[in-house]
Subunit: 145 residues, 2 copies
């Protein structure tokens, strides 16, 4: 189990790989983001084809990060994200790799049992392009004395 | 069809209502955010029960906003979000209402066919608590001459 003390500023972690399919893109978007360029596999549209909803991309990243890092840590949730950028369209067949870096960390002033981590998170496609970047806060329990 | 010119700074829109269920919370989280407090309906945990993944909450909001606004507008996607805050836990049975306000808008300098809108978006629960707030950018086509 990893506690707040175990997240060293500067440390980087590579998470799983995920190949995204047209079916997945359409299924997510029909429920959560039914814009034509996310639900119509035959579209031309402003992106020259079907692309994944940015919320789908962010959620896929979260799945990788949770399975690779948070499930083995004393995570206490997140108050939010500082900045989230969708930089390059994600298309069917893209193979996405997640990576994260601890960029800042401090103990809570209010709660001695908790600390905050600032992570910079990226998803990279098979051509090495960063398709999504975000900077997010996480609360992690401190190691019990 | 709404174009960039139709989004007036200061205008506010109320979107649909959504009652969230435990089943939905667990189904989303098993795929995208399998932390114990998002997938175990019987958990106590740091939040005193099951709560929705913040990515689920954001995606639900997007569904409302797309169906109520973007599907009738000349949306050209979004480069990202400035700030996203999860302020209050979302629990099974909560009834969420979305609302958005145009806070800034400018025409593209590079592309005469496009403008940017900055929207402030909120999800409010049945007690009037703002559970999520974000400030996001959207690209919208300009009205054809």
């Amino acid at each position: 189990m990893q506690y707040w003390e175990d997240f060293e500023v500067g440390s980087e972690t590579i998470h799983g790989e995920h190949e995204i399919t047209a079916d997945e893109i359409v299924r997510f978007a029909k429920e959560f983001d039914p814009q034509p360029f996310h639900v119509d596999p035959d579209i031309e549209g402003p992106f020259g084809g079907l692309i994944a909803s940015g919320w789908h991309t962010a959620s896929l990243y979260m799945g990788m990060f949770v399975r690779n890092v948070l499930l083995d840590s004393a995570s206490m949730g997140s108050p939010g994200v500082e900045e989230l950028r969708w930089l390059v369209p994600v298309r069917p067949g893209d193979v996405l790799t997640g990576r994260s870096r601890v960029v800042d960390a401090w103990p809570s002033e209010r709660d001695p049992g908790r600390g905050t981590i600032i992570g910079e998170h990226e998803l990279v496609n098979q051509r090495g392009e960063i398709v999504m970047r975000m900077r997010a806060r996480g609360f992690i329990a401190r190691r019990p004395a």
